[in-house]
Symmetry: C2
Subunit: 349 residues, 2 copies
């Protein structure tokens, strides 16, 4: 059987190591898609620090609307010390996540046997964090008065709606249902953030009645960080708020293969707009342009992208190639392109 | 020289293992104070789950005012699953912290060579987190509309003032100045929470000019969790917001001796009200009343209490006793009272 599918892909390399790791992810995507009878029609968008310095623009609405027309987005990394903190994060990355309604921020964590963990006895780690992506303290609903004076006051508002919480909780339950262990842990801080926390807890309890096979668990976010280092194997699916998800997924990456392996998908499950795939790591400006970055997280993000587009075989081929590559890592350094080439060869082989 | 000093101490055992571990801390305090010519005049306050079930009260204002008259407060733990989440935390524990203006929540982390860490190579860990205690998302400034309907919205407001941030930042700098490494790390999330984050960053930058010997560093909270498991030895003094401090100090406890050893002081540095000392751990209702809890964190909190009252020798005696006890731990279980007795004997010896 031979079918030829074409997908349009918006590519945002971004800042620092972003363009380097994205180039490798594209290499793998192109090789795998050729094998599986798929074509990616790519458009690059020049967004990030350089663009901002040159034009003062982060993401003009017209460009956002162009990006919106694609089937998916591949993003490298955003942020540079030369740009005031928050400008690119809020004006580019979060603008994309919010405008395209990426309410499921999916972040899998897995320990590859051959990759060292900073934990002495990590056990068998294989969980996924479903981080809410469009609400919480990330909504940009803050403000400041009398800035720069001794009477300054700055606020940040976490906004949580039944609409927003229920849809991500449902997604997390569906994912738990599809996994062998069928376990879901809600992470929040409902003993202090009682309004938001109780909304989350009530929602999980209500949706749980529709999923009788799922074991449901609750942890305060502080306690969750303890278990992530003392017993990470206990987790299967974690569902949590935008900010708590940000924090615990960096920790989760650190205790499993490290931030060089952590992939993520900013997913719009309703498919009303393209989903966006990006490594969890940042732009790492200190090693940018030196071919020192590990492109594996970007490549695994491309696998999540294939999966989202229904290209299950392509996704599996990329994942298998990465696993094989990781298992043969000797510790002697390879360039970004060398790692990308090795994985490409395996994935297309 | 023989001087006799008397200090008044309000004691709140609280819930779960709270009363058990507090009893051991008092044992140690009494023994050490006798040696150092000090008397603690103790009043116990029956607050917590049992009281709430019996009377519906968490902390009546009249009792708060009585507690306020003391020189210091020793607290065990607060919270029980039989009480709706948040009732005791907000109505008792946080009410004390806020009413008594405990703006410095001090949480030291140290790895004792003989105590196992979940980390394979923790290195030499010896840092202290100065967690802000009276602002941030803990202010209780949230609300909810249309609760229980599909149109529910719940908000939580993080409140940050120049007044509140500057005083805790100054305290952290002073602590860094008194330590050999003279390093201060601000932990926040100023690329997303730009209003609060920039207030914190500007304040640290401004106060830093008065402390030229201090090396100042900034980390986003997500990145901080990575370093806490990959290179915790890099930290000296961390200053951070109330919520971020809650999260990273549980993680810090987990990677050092575990939550059984983590002490804390809720300090009012201006001494306009008594400071309060408590273990970082919770009430652990699953092991309550079984003499299974480790009272070390409560005992180390009593050492912080002595230190705050100027009883430096007593504080040092308790710390030395704990260190000696920890070094001889064999792994065979002792009861809560046996651990307390062993440390008491050493501390008063
Ligand atoms: C860069 C930053 C805005 C972003 C976030 O906080 O979500 C990053 O930390 C992430 O986890 O993707
Ligand atoms: C019990 C809870 C309210 C408290 C907090 O969040 O501050 C606890 O976790 C702590 O760290 O002392």
């Amino acid at each position: 059987m031979s079918t030829q599918q074409t997908f349009t892909l918006a590519v945002v390399g971004g800042d620092g190591i972003g363009p380097e790791v994205t180039a490798e992810a594209l290499k793998v995507l192109d090789a795998v898609s050729a094998v599986h009878g798929v074509t990616f029609d790519k458009t690059e968008y020049d967004l990030g620090a350089k663009r901002w310095h040159a034009t003062g623009e982060t993401l003009p609405d017209a460009e956002l609307e162009e990006i919106r027309k694609h089937d998916a987005i591949l993003l490298g990394a955003v942020g540079d010390p030369s740009v005031p903190s928050g400008v690119l994060e809020r004006g580019l990355l979060l603008k994309l996540r919010f405008a395209l309604d990426h309410y499921v921020n999916l972040r899998p964590s897995k320990i590859y046997p051959s990759v060292g963990s900073p934990l002495a006895n990590p056990g068998e780690v294989d969980f996924v964090v479903v981080r809410e992506g469009t609400e919480g303290p990330y909504v940009g609903n803050g403000g400041a008065l009398r800035v720069g004076t001794p009477a300054e006051i700055a606020t940040e508002v976490s906004v949580n709606t039944a609409y927003g919480v229920e849809r991500v909780v449902r997604d997390a339950f569906a994912r738990a249902q599809a996994r062998p262990r069928k376990k879901l842990t809600l992470v929040h801080k409902n003993n202090v953030l009682v309004y938001a926390g109780h909304l989350w807890k009530r929602t999980v309890d209500a949706v749980a009645t529709e999923f009788p096979e799922i074991t449901v668990d609750y942890l305060h976010v502080d306690a969750a960080t303890i278990f992530l280092v003392t017993d990470p194997a206990r987790f299967d699916v974690i569902v949590t708020d935008n900010l708590f998800g940000d924090i615990i997924t960096d920790l989760a990456a650190a205790i499993s293969g490290g931030i060089g392996l952590a992939a993520s998908g900013n997913i719009n499950p309703d498919r009303t707009a393209p989903s966006m795939f990006e490594p969890v790591h940042g732009s790492a400006p200190d090693i940018a342009g030196q071919q020192k970055a590990d492109p594996t997280a970007a490549i695994l993000s491309a696998a999540l992208l294939c999966d989202h587009l229904g290209l299950t075989e392509a996704a599996a081929a990329i994942e298998a190639a990465v696993t094989a590559d990781i298992e043969e890592r000797t510790g002697s350094p390879r360039t970004t392109a060398e790692i990308g080439d090795a994985i490409t060869k395996r994935a297309a082989g």
